[in-house]
């Protein structure tokens, strides 16, 4: 219970600090505050998709249907957070570039990522047999995650983009943020990470309960 109270304090502190301190980038202005939420959302989606791959490998090794369910749970959270990252990025794009969607390399890569993980759930929905569904989606999830580093970190840096690329580190991988901005971002990252773990924990317990109920019937 104590960690839930701590999570509440951390997230509240991050939100309040994000809006009452100076905007992180003075040239961009107020819209740059979205950075405190957009970056943690992007981070959580990568983490959640990585966890989905790990659970998928676990399923292929153990053939435990609950492990397959956990892979789907974390992919669902990842997809939800990825949609939020696209939405917050889109709001930023409207304010700074003039339109919500410009097919910038970053926007195109996140769109591809949403399609890839959307297809994962389409695949799960299309296969009736439980074990066959679990095997196919585990293999798909492993291959899907292989595209994530390329789409998130490599592709947007290969072609010219409007997306700010030096807001965290510069081209020499040195931190460019001020101490206050860094502290707020770190608080937000911790808050979002704990929130993700909590959601993942609840979904796992629901899955266990429904599995037990299914086996009773």
């Amino acid at each position: 219970m104590w960690w839930k109270a701590l999570l509440f304090i951390i997230m509240t502190a991050a939100i309040v600090a994000a809006f009452v301190t100076e905007a992180p980038q003075q040239q961009i202005g107020e819209a740059s505050r979205i950075f405190y939420f957009h970056i943690p959302q992007a981070w959580i989606s990568v983490l959640a998709f990585a966890m989905s791959m790990i659970y998928s490998i676990g399923y292929l090794r153990k053939r435990d249907i609950l492990t397959d369910g956990r892979a789907a749970d974390t992919a669902a959270i990842g997809l939800l957070v990825c949609i939020l990252a696209a939405a917050t990025g889109s709001i930023f794009a409207k304010v700074t570039w003039g339109s919500f969607w410009n097919w910038d390399p970053r926007e195109s890569s996140i769109f591809l990522l949403l399609l890839i993980y959307g297809a994962y759930f389409a695949l799960r929905g299309a296969v009736q047999d439980e074990n066959r569904r679990a095997t196919l989606s585990a293999v798909y999830s492993i291959f899907a995650f292989l595209t994530v580093p390329f789409l998130v970190f490599v592709l947007p840096r290969m072609v010219p983009s409007l997306h700010p690329s030096d807001s965290v580190v510069d081209e020499n991988m040195k931190f460019v943020m001020g101490a206050e901005v860094w502290r707020i971002l770190l608080t937000s990252l911790v808050g979002f990470s704990v929130l993700y773990l909590w959601m993942f924990n609840i979904s796992g317990r629901i899955r266990k309960l429904s599995r037990a109920r299914f086996e009773e019937i």
């Binding site: 009452v20 909590w198 629901i206 309960l209």
Partner: protein, 36 residues
């Protein structure tokens, strides 16, 4: 102070809503686990 208090209020409402939803869901799951 160079704050944006409207955006802060909206973000706080959303966050408190998410937190209460998760707390209630967690409580319900706990209850079901006890009854199992």
């Amino acid at each position: 102070m160079d704050g944006n208090y409207v955006a802060l209020s909206v973000a706080m409402v959303v966050w408190i809503g998410v937190f209460i939803f998760l707390m209630r869901l967690d409580g319900r799951v706990k209850k079901l686990e006890r009854n199992q």
